[in-house]
Symmetry: C2
Subunit: 385 residues, 2 copies
């Protein structure tokens, strides 16, 4: 059985006691083991141990027109032990892989900061540290993710968590049943690791997900019980959503078939957040397949909302040079470049000369966003793709 | 009845429909009304309308040796309508008070950003805006808090929320029963407004609160089910805890009699967080009485932990000039200055020449902090006051 195979005793194995490994854990462990075995086999054959690391460079990222997500290409770079410029990073890669193996076998998770502390030590008898600082460890973690074709979360590493959820869904989180329709004003705090072995969807009555940018806007929607009236799930990501929120939205969309509508500011940052939710990010393109939601829709704010919603001059925030530069860059992203609607949208913002926050709608009335703005667009099916 | 009194129809009253006001809301409304009536009475008597605003200056803040909290003194400054330098801020103060009155009457809450948008407009027929920017509105909100002797939350204003809770307690949040011992890996997201009209404590089996600095450390404690083993409540505040977390800790301490133990980094920032939790902050001294927890205890990390816990050199983070300067300032705070233990603590850190993060304990083993460090100190009752 795979389970047995992946848990045979080894030198660095940590006694895992009664830890039960999930199928996912078994798969990840065997990836780590295969990598390690390749290295030892090379050594046994008296060949120089080396790793082929997929290149995480801009030139190795492309937009897949079929899947509509950012993907990594097939370029790799070799990382060799017997190469004075690569020996350190080779050993660091093996060390990180071995650290994540320990975590999986212990059935524990930690932050990238925690892993750094776990693995940092001076290599005796020298005073050479395994990692100078966190900045030297982080890219090696990303290398391991691509090398092992495993999300960071599958390597038992978590990120900061921020972002909350309420709505008509019941989930199971680590064995606890959580009814997100009974979460008061606070909500359920979305964890960093939301893989199926941690979070299962139990019942879902909701018909869609409304994802808003900021927690203050989320509080308005929750207080007005928007999710109850419109039978949906309400999430936020405190700005650029962290990995846990993106992965959870992806799962809600793919496993439960829920459309995801995004309510973001009318500014380049809002466009960028939408782009990452929808297509993935350039830096972490290898995650797109399990994070991105190509069918996500942008519900607003739109550049014509100043007129359409009859807003007053007092809510305008002038664009600065950075905004203008950033807007032009985003307009050239391949997934925006071919869409006339998005070109018009960005162009209109530049012509307006100002940006708008979602909160600007409060100038109409405190619940204008929950009672008029979003309901009207939902009814009209009026979204940007 | 007070209720009737505070809801009599007025020119700017917003139809409040079926909103039921809490006792707290009634009290706040009558404070706002009294303030407004003072102004109209002055005008009726042909005297210049003026407000006496408690001075939010360093010189008007002192440490109350009995209560062990920071307090505001009794200095006030007059803000007059018929004074060319004060007319604008006088009118802004009345505008903010009237905005919060509307919020209370509507039974709605908003962020300080939301209130700014609610109130911002050009004063016809001029093009003079009521507020130039958010920076002009925020201090007026703080003025209203002290003027009305009301926490921001009582004025129906919320802040960003961050911070989560799990543990052996059942609460009611806006009518929903939430069992914090069944919250999985995510936890209950602590809302910004945790006043008794929103959050009620239902059952509490827990014997104390462990408050940790960072959410990544909180995740370690939650994953190890520390709160279950030691029958406690586990909270974090994502660094400097936001108002909602501070107020909730205060309520858990005062209403349920739970001791609050703080696990923070061994650095000036950790000391400062402890100081704010315990005595309040200098900037917002008027909140101390409902936010500060004078009997909170500092469980660590301590400056002698490097030796005591047998940590390796690799976890040291060198102090920089800012750290040293900040540490000396904190040592001179009146509530640290008279405590020999704290003087030794800060002095030892300066002598060490390095700081330590809580995560440094992971270098011993991943669960050293949950299985050895904190349990031992709890058993020994070994805290800093």
């Amino acid at each position: 059985m795979a389970k047995k195979k992946s848990r045979k005793p080894e030198e660095d194995a940590v006694p895992s006691g009664s830890v039960t490994l999930s199928k996912q854990d078994e798969r990840t462990l065997s990836q780590i083991q295969d990598m390690a075995e390749d290295v030892t086999k090379s050594a046994a054959r008296r060949r120089d141990p080396a790793l082929d690391i997929p290149a995480r460079t801009l030139s190795n990222v492309h937009f897949n027109q079929n899947k509509k997500i950012l993907e990594m290409g097939s370029k790799t770079t070799s990382r060799e032990l017997f190469n004075i410029g690569q020996a350190k990073s080779f050993m660091q890669t093996m060390l990180v892989a071995s650290g994540t193996k320990q975590l999986i076998e212990m059935g524990k998770t930690t932050s990238i900061r925690g892993l750094y502390y776990m693995l940092k030590h001076d290599i005796k008898p020298t005073k050479e540290p395994t990692f100078k600082d966190q900045g030297e460890c982080d890219p090696i973690i990303e290398d391991c993710e691509v090398l092992l074709d495993s999300l960071r979360e599958e390597l038992h590493l978590f990120a900061d968590k921020r972002g909350d959820m309420v709505g008509n869904i019941q989930i199971v989180d680590n064995g606890d049943e959580i009814d997100c329709s009974r979460m008061g004003s606070g909500g359920y705090a979305i964890p960093s690791i939301v893989e199926p072995n941690v979070i299962q969807f139990k019942n879902c009555q909701a018909k869609f997900v409304l994802h808003v940018e900021k927690n203050t806007v989320w509080q308005r929607f929750n207080e007005d019980k928007f999710w109850k009236k419109y039978n949906c799930i309400l999430t936020h990501g405190s700005g650029q959503p962290p990995r846990g929120v993106r992965r959870l939205l992806n799962r809600l969309h793919n496993e439960l078939g829920l459309p995801v509508y995004c309510l973001l500011d009318n500014d380049p940052w809002g466009y960028y957040i939408y782009s990452v939710l929808k297509q993935g990010s350039i830096n972490l393109a290898y995650e797109s397949k399990r994070m991105a939601i190509p069918k996500a829709r942008f519900i607003g704010l739109r550049s014509h909302d100043f007129e359409r919603c009859n807003l007053s001059n007092s809510v305008k925030i002038s664009l600065n040079d950075t905004d203008r530069k950033r807007a032009k860059q985003i307009a050239e992203y391949p997934w925006f470049a071919k869409k006339k609607e998005w070109q018009r949208e960005i162009d209109q913002m530049l012509k307006n000369g100002f940006k708008l926050e979602v909160e600007a709608l409060i100038s109409r009335s405190i619940s204008y966003m929950t009672e008029e703005y979003v309901p009207r667009l939902l009814e009209e099916g009026n979204f940007l793709d």
